[in-house]
């Protein structure tokens, strides 16, 4: 099942990157098992600082597990994964929006802003909510949001602390056309300043930004 027939594409587009960028994520022979279930096996890759690794593959191929490893949410059961960035510099948006349904959009971001010690927290939250078109719904509970609005809020949460490494699992999921175009613009704007690991079923959307591609068969 997962972990077989993996296609690796090396570091595509590396020539266009400055050669002095250090490696931010280095994986050697990484594997992950949950009990008897092997999810990942012998994965090797490197992501340079300010690089963009695109992860593609069918459902159940291990993309989400790989991204969880890259975000520090899980540890490999085999091999070595060297994550050379502190936890406070990682932004993660996964399948779940990771926001409390009973809290409003502002309260959710304020909670994470406090935990991340975001400077000028209120201004930053207001700016993000405005940019992602959620300012009008700032005092509504996240549980009342549509799937697309929750995804936007999830992206606000992931970007709140201006992370050095952004790990995005299906970031376009649930977004309408306007939301997807907004995310395109955000990714393009952040591209020179951050490192990305992005899994998506729509690789063409972010392919121009990618420096590395890891394909799961």
């Amino acid at each position: 099942m997962q972990g077989h027939g993996r296609e690796r594409h090396g570091r595509a587009g590396q020539a266009s990157d400055p050669p002095t960028e250090p490696v931010l994520i280095s994986a050697r022979g990484v594997g992950k098992r949950y009990g008897d279930t092997r999810v990942l096996e012998s994965i090797d890759f490197e992501v340079d600082a300010r690089g963009f690794m695109l992860v593609t593959g069918p459902n159940g191929s291990g993309k989400t597990t790989l991204l969880r490893l890259c975000a520090g949410l899980a540890t490999p059961t085999a091999g070595e994964l060297d994550l050379r960035t502190p936890r406070e510099s990682i932004g993660y948006a996964g399948h779940e929006p990771l926001v409390y349904r009973e809290l409003t959009a502002i309260e959710n971001l304020d909670l994470y802003g406090r935990l991340y010690r975001v400077p000028e927290r209120r201004e930053r939250i207001g700016m993000l909510l405005e940019r992602f078109g959620l300012w009008h719904a700032r005092n509504q509970r996240a549980g009342s949001f549509s799937r697309g609005m929750q995804q936007r809020l999830s992206l606000c949460r992931a970007l709140l602390h201006e992370p050095e490494l952004l790990v995005l699992d299906e970031p376009y999921s649930g977004l309408d056309d306007a939301g997807a175009e907004l995310l395109d613009r955000e990714l393009a704007a952040l591209r020179p300043h951050a490192t990305f690991v992005v899994a998506t079923h729509d690789p063409d959307r972010v392919l121009p930004l990618a420096t590395t591609r890891l394909g799961f068969a």
């Binding site: 406070e88 809290l103 991340y116």
Partner: protein, 213 residues
């Protein structure tokens, strides 16, 4: 240290806010403890000993705590919000301590109702019982919150938490009942203090390993 305390306060406040909005844990605990005491009031034969009544009080307290603990990680489990907390740069034991503070507050409120109800149904409560309840709450919450986190990642969580928690709550009941009925409760209160310290340290130190995948 100030940063750690601030993180704990933020996390505990979040849980209290969630409960104020959702109101799905505290009402259940209150209803449970009052109805349990009512049942015991009618179930216990007249002229039963104070020891038996005090024992039932402690049974009610432990099971009321279990109701609260079962719901302690519901939001974090159902919406995988534990990931959001684990990603935050706070010490992961702060998540445990914040959750402990919230559960302790819920349990304290439940007991503010339960103890007068007990006094009305059975007999008066002495200072040693009140001190024992406070000490027992700390131990119950420390152990229970860790075990609730363990159970939260399991498919059989509703079964797993009581199975793990109740054996570890036996010393609390022994100490609590002992402190409530003994003429010199100091030994039992000391035992509860020791239980609190040992299990709080173990739970605080091991929480990170429990929630890490």
């Amino acid at each position: 240290m100030r940063r750690y305390a601030a993180d704990v306060a933020v996390l505990a406040r979040k849980d209290l806010t969630l409960e104020l909005r959702a109101r799905d844990t505290l009402p259940a605990m209150l209803l449970f403890v009052v109805s349990t005491l009512v049942v015991f009031h009618f179930a216990l034969p007249k002229h039963s000993s104070d020891l038996a009544a005090k024992g039932l009080l402690w049974v009610a307290i432990v099971f009321t705590a279990l109701v609260g603990l079962t719901r302690a990680f519901v939001a974090e489990r159902e919406q995988r919000l534990i990931d959001g907390l684990l990603l935050a740069p706070c010490d992961r034991s702060a998540i445990w301590l914040g959750k402990c503070a919230a559960v302790l507050a819920f349990l304290g409120v439940a007991e503010l109702v339960a103890l007068p109800a007990y006094a009305a149904f059975f007999s008066g409560i002495g200072w040693s019982t009140i001190v024992a309840v406070v000490l027992a709450d700390i131990g119950i919450v420390a152990v229970g919150t860790l075990l609730a986190a363990v159970a939260a990642v399991s498919r059989t969580r509703e079964l797993l938490l009581p199975v793990l928690f109740l054996p570890l709550a036996i010393p609390v009941i022994v100490g609590g009942v002992g402190a409530s009925v003994a003429e010199s409760p100091g030994r039992y209160l000391g035992f509860l203090c020791l239980y609190d310290v040992v299990f709080a340290i173990i739970s605080w130190a091991s929480f990170e390993y429990v929630v890490t995948e």
